[in-house]
């Protein structure tokens, strides 16, 4: 009865509220915008990895020396690839955001893109003494500003085009010319507003990016905490429990913060330092590994035909971090028999690696690897640290041990059901 009332409350109140939130235009565009930088960060990560060999300064050996020699011989262009790929992530987010807004509003892309890039450079960058452009704000530091500029500049331009001055051209004027002229007035209006904002920030001795970052600083510092990791893990799993794609829904908000943390780590490593933000895009992969542990627990104890069949189907996908066969087959959705241990397992998936990083038992993950790479390989690649495999195995053992009693209980229920069906 209690389960039913919780289920009813979630279906009637929580799910519509979440659906409403994720359907906001800004949230939708933000999701697309953040995805836009992923390819560039992947390429940039490869350049960075080769530029900075992931070994301690004291490490020696043929392979280590060869990597160092390669890095030294190619340092110049490896750094260029890193700068263009990973350290310009904010700029790519800007492009993705503008594209998403234009697609959503069915607005012309090129003019809005040009305006947004112009505004971003104007609001974010300054000229160096030698004449170059300081692009220090194009990376992690500029991501939040990229989201704001990428959203509001096209919005302003579209609004001015609809409500501003219009010139009606004769029909004989080709459409591409009349369109350009129509765009011109709204563009000039947008540029004036952008300059006004620039002057306003300059008056206070800051830039848009620096101001936005100072506003969001508490959020970023709070995001890199055990509490934030636990809230994220549990929220995602509760959403999955009710059949909603938890990673996508929670990711709509969290991915921006994680991407910024990820790029900030990369910048720190490239500068010869160590990654500092534990909860980042690469770490996020750790929080989804519980499915395989659940499948292993099922394989170890299940006697019912249903669970045996599910484990056979689910094992291979789970090895490659694909959870749907288990989620829908076991099922994990609306299965109150295993709900609590299921939540605990995923909370541990976040807590154990987080604490391991915090107390220096393993390196902080700082390299992005596609999520389908088997977990025991992936955890090493992300951290370049063999100790990550040990942490992974400890995590696995803890999760399997927690799941076994719940699976046993659920299996006994299914077995009794199967026997009752057979006797009928």
């Amino acid at each position: 009865m209690k389960n039913e009332s919780i289920s009813l409350w979630i279906q009637e109140k929580l799910i519509p509220a979440i659906a409403k939130f994720t359907s906001f235009k800004f949230v939708k565009c933000m999701q697309e915008g953040v995805v836009a930088c992923m390819n560039a960060t992947m390429i940039g990560s490869i350049f960075m990895l080769l530029m900075i060999p992931p070994f301690p300064a004291t490490a020696t050996g043929g392979f280590v020396e060869a990597w160092r020699a390669f890095s030294a011989a190619n340092a110049g262009w490896l750094n260029m690839g890193y700068q263009i790929g990973l350290n310009a992530a904010g700029f790519y987010i800007l492009l993705g955001m503008v594209n998403a807004v234009c697609k959503h509003d069915n607005a012309p892309l090129v003019n809005n893109m040009v305006l947004a890039v112009f505004s971003y450079i104007c609001l974010q960058c300054s000229f160096l003494e030698g004449g170059g452009l300081d692009i220090g704000f194009w990376g992690a530091k500029g991501m939040m500003a990229a989201l704001i500029v990428g959203y509001f500049v096209p919005q302003l331009n579209i609004w001015l085009k609809k409500n501003g001055i219009k010139i009606r051209m004769p029909d004989s004027v080709p459409p591409f010319i009349s369109n350009q002229l129509e765009e011109m007035f709204s563009s000039v209006g947008t540029v004036i507003v952008v300059f006004a904002v620039k002057l306003l920030f300059a008056h206070f001795g800051t830039t848009l990016g620096a101001f936005v970052n100072s506003l969001f600083a508490p959020l970023f510092s709070a995001s890199d905490s055990l509490t934030a990791v636990l809230i994220y893990c549990i929220l995602v799993r509760i959403l999955w429990f009710f059949g909603l794609h938890g990673n996508n829904i929670a990711g709509a908000v969290v991915n921006v913060v994680l991407a910024q943390n990820f790029v900030a780590n990369a910048e720190a490593v490239a500068a010869g330092g160590k990654p500092t933000f534990i909860f980042n895009t690469a770490f996020q992969n750790w929080t989804t590994q519980g499915i395989l542990f659940i499948v292993i627990a099922v394989i170890l104890v299940a006697k019912s035909e249903q669970l045996k069949a599910v484990s056979k189907v689910s094992l291979a996908p789970a090895l490659f971090n694909i959870g749907e066969p288990t989620t829908f087959g076991l099922p994990l959705i609306l299965n109150f028999d295993i709900f609590i241990p299921y939540l605990i397992v995923f909370a541990l998936n976040g807590a154990i690696p987080y604490l391991a990083c915090k107390f220096g038992f393993m390196n902080i993950p700082y390299i992005d690897v596609p999520f389908t790479v088997p977990a025991f390989i992936k955890v090493f690649l992300q951290t370049m640290d063999f100790r990550a495999i040990i942490v992974y195995l400890i995590n696995a053992a803890a999760c399997i041990l927690i799941m076994i009693p719940a699976i046993k209980k659920y299996d006994a229920k299914l077995l009794a059901q199967e026997q009752a069906d057979a006797n009928q």
Binding site: V35, M38, N39, A40, M42, I43, G44, S45, I46, F47, L50, A66, W67, A69, F70, A73, N74, W77, L78, G81, G85, A316, P317, F320, I322, P370, F371, T372
Partner: protein
């Protein structure tokens, strides 16, 4: 050794050219060909592009011969691995790895262990973790089930 590295770099470029040639062949032989890939496939392509760029730009230096050769070999392997996993569809034909198949020749499509098994008139084609987009896979299923023209 210098010549070996230059040769390997040329081989790497050739590998990409051969991959592109497969796509061009499909473009020329069919209509409605779109280079659509889902997010994960894009990451795979980006990773391969990243390794290729690093390999191509790598300086030829006596202190880094072996490392550079290994890096280029890894890149060539990745490009071929990608080439054999490409799955792009047009209105009537589909590129499965390096083979262009008429959709009317498709018999059955099934998936197991991250591998897509496509039964055709000519035999079964296996694609490990195809680099594609969900709608292309659905198009293949529909074509195999006899529902043509749906995209």
């Amino acid at each position: 050794m210098n010549l070996l590295i230059i040769g390997l770099k040329i081989l790497l470029i050739l590998s990409w050219c051969l991959t592109a040639l497969d796509v061009v062949k499909l473009y020329r032989s069919d209509t409605g060909v779109h280079m659509k890939f889902d997010w994960l496939s894009w990451l795979n392509i980006s990773g391969t592009v990243g390794f290729t760029l690093v390999s191509l730009f790598a300086v030829i230096n006596s202190s880094t011969y072996v490392f550079t050769v290994c890096l280029i070999l890894v890149s060539i392997f990745l490009v071929w691995f990608l080439k054999l996993r490409l799955m792009i569809a047009g209105d009537h034909k589909v590129l499965l790895g390096s083979k262009i198949i008429d959709q009317s020749d498709l018999r059955k499509v099934s998936a197991r262990f991250l591998t897509l098994y496509v039964e055709t008139k000519q035999g079964t084609i296996k694609l490990y973790a195809p680099v594609t987009e969900r709608s292309v896979t659905m198009q293949l299923y529909n074509a195999a089930a006899g529902k043509r023209g749906k995209k």
